[in-house]
Symmetry: C2
Subunit: 168 residues, 2 copies
């Protein structure tokens, strides 16, 4: 993927998830089941990665060390947009980078500050983004059922599009 294409894809992703601070992040857990938990998005990097902060001692760190595959889901407050990000996660303890990103409110998670020995940067390299924009009317929103019944068309779950990232 040439840089300008990647820039456009990243800009589009930023637009899609604007105003959705919390994602559900699914990992492959040690019991081999798929677990998800809410995480606060720290930033979207220009290199097409999502950055979250977590703890080295957390379950999700253990999970992605074992199996890096993750899905990151964003749902808008109004339920009119669903975004699925497929990628691979890595977790690093990087005090210099924590200092760079540090914000005083982070002390809530890292009582020892940017030097907290348990701090971890959870980075998801994005492979693919799928998203659904759903019309705002609640009836139509429930998958266009009413319109589809009226017109005889098969219901569509809003607009579905895919952004593929990577070197292709």
């Amino acid at each position: 993927m040439v840089q300008s294409d990647q820039d456009r894809a990243v800009a589009e992703l930023r637009r899609l998830i604007d105003g959705i601070p919390v994602a559900m992040v699914t990992t492959v857990a040690a019991d081999d089941a798929l677990h998800a938990r809410p995480m606060l998005l720290e930033r979207v990097e220009r290199d097409a990665s999502l950055v979250f902060l977590t703890h080295l001692s957390s379950q999700k760190t253990t999970d992605v060390h074992r199996d890096p595959r993750v899905n990151v889901t964003f749902i808008s407050d109004k339920g009119d947009r669903y975004v699925s990000v497929s990628g691979r996660a890595s977790v690093t303890h990087d005090v210099a980078r924590m200092h760079e990103m540090w914000n005083p409110t982070y002390r809530a998670w890292f009582p020892k500050g940017a030097d907290d020995p348990d701090s971890a940067i959870f980075t998801v390299t994005i492979d693919r983004v799928d998203y659904w924009d759903v019309p705002s009317s609640r009836l139509v929103r429930l998958w266009g059922v009413v319109r589809a019944v009226a017109t005889g068309q098969v219901a569509e779950a809003g607009e579905h599009d895919t952004i593929v990232f990577g070197s292709g």
Copy 2:
């Protein structure tokens, strides 16, 4: 799990997802990535399974035939509740059951009606439910940061609880 415990767990799950008609369902796709897509929940069965309708020809059917592991995520409209259901999915074409569950609006998805040869019942057997109830104030909601900074306690992402299903 004795029946009364399972009944209580199912009742609790129904309460948690009440008013959240659409879930994001994550599967392990053929390209080995974790993909998610919105699905409309049909019902929660008393035997601790989630039922969705889909098509035999859909990608998610292919995915779970290859690898049955799924995660089903529910997020409330207000963003004050996050629910993760871990389980295993099976897909069946069952015309008798489709007739039982049939609702005229379903013709939007299945133009040939309950006998549609591509109809499929997507059933998730629940192994585990994790959920987070987040206080409604937006500032506190963002992971209790403000309160935690004030009190010096490590921030908690709202109340986190787990319901384990199964024969244990």
